[in-house]
């Protein structure tokens, strides 16, 4: 089981990419994040039921955009690449899966 790195701080987001595998997905996502000063903490990927699944944890502490705008940028890029890219605050997952 892949464990994602655990670092303190409340500005972390989880970016997920789901879709058919193809060249350039990681590059596309990391380019956007670098442009907007979002620090990548961990990347994990796997193939699930023929789909490429990437989960990326990033820190928004020094980000030049807010989460909602970043989400839009990623979703738009995802459309070009024909994959679904989503970004959510990490609290959603912590609240659901951790007591």
């Amino acid at each position: 089981m892949n464990h994602l790195k655990n670092t303190p701080g409340g500005n972390r987001i989880v970016i997920t990419v789901i879709g058919p595998d193809r060249v350039g997905i990681i590059a596309a996502v990391s380019n956007i994040l670098a442009e907007k000063s979002v620090n990548i903490l961990d990347i994990n990927q796997t193939i699930m039921q023929e789909f490429f699944v990437m989960v990326l944890v990033a820190d928004m502490a020094t980000a030049a955009v807010d989460l909602v705008s970043l989400k839009d940028l990623l979703a738009k890029r995802g459309e070009d690449l024909q994959v679904r890219i989503d970004a959510q605050h990490e609290d959603v997952f912590n609240f659901m899966h951790r007591i």
Binding site: N2, V55, D86, Q88, H89, M96, H97
Partner: protein
């Protein structure tokens, strides 16, 4: 440390299994809006609602996007209007409903609850005027929801109130007949009504509540159904365990969203209502959960037992997930809003009598049920009295939201669209309860209400 599997589980729950936050409801006290001049009172009501709820919708939308969790409804509940309007000399409370409607429209919410009266032990002058104003209020507004509490375990069942509200239901059906009697979909008759319920149409802001509060209602029948499917041939204990775990996860989302919304809006967080609220969307059905548990159709023998297991497991899981659980908290079984329930009625598996039995073990009552338009007032009153008796004598909330659509017969449909859905007109027992209902007065509280 989150695992990739956990992250994907959450995403799947939202994207494939219809997990959502059903509502963020802002409760607003209008106790400081009373005025001898009803026009002044209406101005104060409009001003207070628009001031406090001005950013409710925007805040809800922001949170939904940041957390990637749909928040289906942003709504408002207010102090029962009978308590506020009574100070005025107005003969009719329509203006209060119009003010509520305008305020709701101004802040962009689709429903505002609280055109309500609490008459379980008797009527004041304001209560009578409010109840009499309901048909006009519901036919002249888009967003206003009305409710009346006619019974409690402490006071018993006010049969005079039930008789009166039954006439009001018929009148509301008539006045909104051109829209399949949609007014009745916004009118709930309660026993043991909770004062912090965030779900419409029965929401109002109780008198013991703070000035302003945020309550959330969660949903997620689709998530529970999928979990039961994955559990395969598990026995009852394992089934309950599976549902509890899912209810925990669902409720945590309500807690997170509620607390975040309350913090951003600068008001206290109230409760999470741990409910399974279906929608007409495919796969978002409580009936389908019962069918997944092993019933050929919802309404078959075994339905009450299956629903009891489901409801109890939802509460147990939910109670662990939130510091403050309140409202209705349980599974909802509305007919028109649940595709599985509708199919069960069409197939002849589900009757009003079976639904009534099921309400003894779930959170609400006979909800969103269309009946023939020629059903006598006394029969409607008797149906409400039966439902109130289940609530009063079992110390639980029950409610009736029934639609006697004029001109409609068994086999016809009422169509509301949206979350209110569509309902087949159901068979009502033809035998009369007229003499019983006409006795009037109050059914005394049960012996086990004497708890002190």
């Amino acid at each position: 440390m989150l695992t990739i599997e956990e992250i994907l589980e959450t995403i799947k729950m939202v994207q494939e299994e219809n997990l959502d936050i059903r509502t963020i409801t802002m409760g607003i006290s209008l106790r400081d809006c009373s005025d001898a001049d009803h026009r002044a009172a209406c101005r104060k009501i409009y001003e207070k609602i628009t001031r406090l709820a001005g950013t409710l919708v925007k805040t809800g939308e922001e949170i939904a996007r940041e957390y990637g969790l749909p928040i289906v409804n942003k709504r408002i509940s207010v102090t029962p209007i009978a308590l506020i309007a009574e100070a005025s000399a107005a003969e009719n409370y329509l203006d209060y409903a119009l003010s509520m409607d305008r305020a709701a429209e101004a802040v962009g919410v689709n429903f505002i609850g609280g055109f309500s009266a609490l008459v379980h032990k008797g009527f004041t002058g304001g209560d009578v005027r409010l109840v009499e104003s309901i048909p006009q209020a519901l036919s002249s507004t888009e967003r206003v929801c009305a409710s009346v509490n006619v019974a409690t375990s402490r006071a018993g069942i006010n049969m005079d109130a039930i008789a009166m509200i039954s006439g009001v239901i018929k009148e509301t059906a008539k006045l909104t007949a051109d829209r399949d009697s949609i007014g009745c979909a916004k009118l709930v008759v309660f026993a043991n009504v909770p004062e912090d319920n965030p779900f419409m149409a029965g929401a109002f802001h109780g008198v013991g509540e703070p000035d302003c509060v945020i309550n959330t209602g969660v949903s997620g029948p689709g998530v529970v159904k999928s979990a039961i499917k994955r559990a395969g041939d598990a026995d009852m204990g394992a089934l309950s365990e599976t549902i509890k775990k899912m209810a925990f996860k669902i409720t945590r989302m309500g807690e997170l969203v509620g607390r975040t919304a309350a913090q951003r809006l600068g008001v206290p967080f109230g409760i999470v209502d741990v409910s399974l609220a279906p929608t007409p969307a495919v796969g978002d059905s409580v009936a389908e959960i019962l069918e997944e548990m092993g019933l050929e159709r919802c309404g078959a023998p075994g339905s009450t037992a299956a629903l009891a297991l489901l409801n109890d497991a939802v509460k147990k899981g939910g109670a662990m997930a939130s510091s403050y659980v309140g409202g209705l908290s349980g599974a909802f079984i509305p007919v028109s809003e649940d595709t599985g329930m509708i199919n069960a009625v069409i197939d002849g598996a589900l009757t009003i009598e079976k639904l009534e039995a099921m309400t003894a073990v779930c959170s609400v009552g006979l909800d969103m049920i269309a009946i023939p338009g020629d059903t006598p007032i006394e029969t409607i009153a008797a149906i409400i009295a039966d439902e109130a008796a289940i609530g009063v004598f079992n110390h639980k909330t029950t409610a009736v939201r029934i639609i006697p659509a004029p001109g409609k017969k068994v086999g016809d449909w009422v169509e509301f669209g949206g979350l209110l859905g569509r309902a087949p007109v159901m068979v009502v027992n033809k035998f009369s309860a007229e003499k019983f209902v006409r006795r009037g007065g109050r059914i005394p509280a049960p012996i086990h209400s004497l708890r002190n």
